[in-house]
Amino acid sequence: MTSGAADAEGEQAAAGGHTAYAPLEHHTRRAVVRQSLSIGLATGAYGISFGALGVASGLSILQTMALSVLLFSGGSQFALVGILGAGGTGSAAVATSTLLGVRNGLYALQTSRILDVRGLRRLWAAHLTIDESTAVAVGREDRRAGRLGFFVTGVAVFVCWNLMTLLGAVVGNALGDPQRWGLDAAAAAAFTALLWPRLRSRDAAATMVLAVAIALLTSPVLPVGVPVILTVVAAVVVGLSGGGRHERRAEVDES
């Protein structure tokens, strides 16, 4: 649906003689759409684990669905139900979810330049700004291909993620006792899998070690949910110290 709208816009602009908006070549379009749909299916599939965890955490099917439709950001959704399920306060759940969502705002800084959309389409584009759509948009050299990829990926993930959340919520509801099926362990595994691709740098590894220490040391003495928010300190300490020295040294080397 959205890709069709992007098409119409591309053709309009092309008629006006603006080469930057000329329609994409057929094989490029097909390649972009194929890549986007496969990412949509693969990502959407794990909506089933979110749906199951949502109801296992005590949310209704409707509340679990509302998160996938309205919040639409996997990490934040898992965090929110994880903290509520562990008995954390609502404010701790909202704070952690929002802090994890900060990265979407950073993605939007990049994608808004590629997309260059206005009005209602911008409101919709904002909602679709997540890890996967951003990766496809910035991974394409041709801006038109990036734009097409952003919308097709975003819509594909949105549709699959929501259908699979519903399926997971219904199945999870039928399963009963979440512990018996290892669903609480599935939450820990889900966070591990979300963290995994982000651990490429030394700074990231240092942040992880510090964050785990902060969370475990403060957990017995602070309200549930607060230790996770406190891990922000790890990002600030490592971000402001470690890498900074390397970069300054690199600058000196260059000059």
Partner: protein, 104 residues
């Protein structure tokens, strides 16, 4: 806060964050230090969540049980480049089997 309030408030804030990125000038988050902290933010939060979901019990107490074995299995699967769903289901199966055998 009712669960619905939590759901809707978190959703509203998530959307506001995304929209803000589309509206504010990029210079607001420029600078190597600021961007490094922002890049490490999800790493810190997800690490904290892994730790608490693995060891955390009622009232913030810490326990070693089937969940630790499950996370170990998840790491092995990630090292083998398994996809997300396989990792999550694999971990759940490990925890479920261990509990069925009476451990953790």
């Amino acid at each position: 806060m009712s669960t619905w309030t939590v759901v809707l408030l978190a959703s509203g804030l998530a959307y506001a964050t995304k929209l803000a990125g589309h509206l504010v000038p990029e210079s607001w988050v420029e600078g190597p230090r600021r961007s490094r902290v922002l890049t490490l933010l999800p790493v810190a939060l997800l690490s904290g969540l892994v730790a608490i979901q693995t060891f955390g019990g009622s009232g913030g107490s810490l326990h070693v049980d089937a969940r630790l074995a499950a996370v170990g299995a998840a790491v092995v699967l990630l090292l083998l480049r398994a996809n997300f769903l396989v990792v999550v289901i694999g971990a759940a199966v490990v925890a479920g089997v261990l509990r069925a055998m009476g451990w953790g």
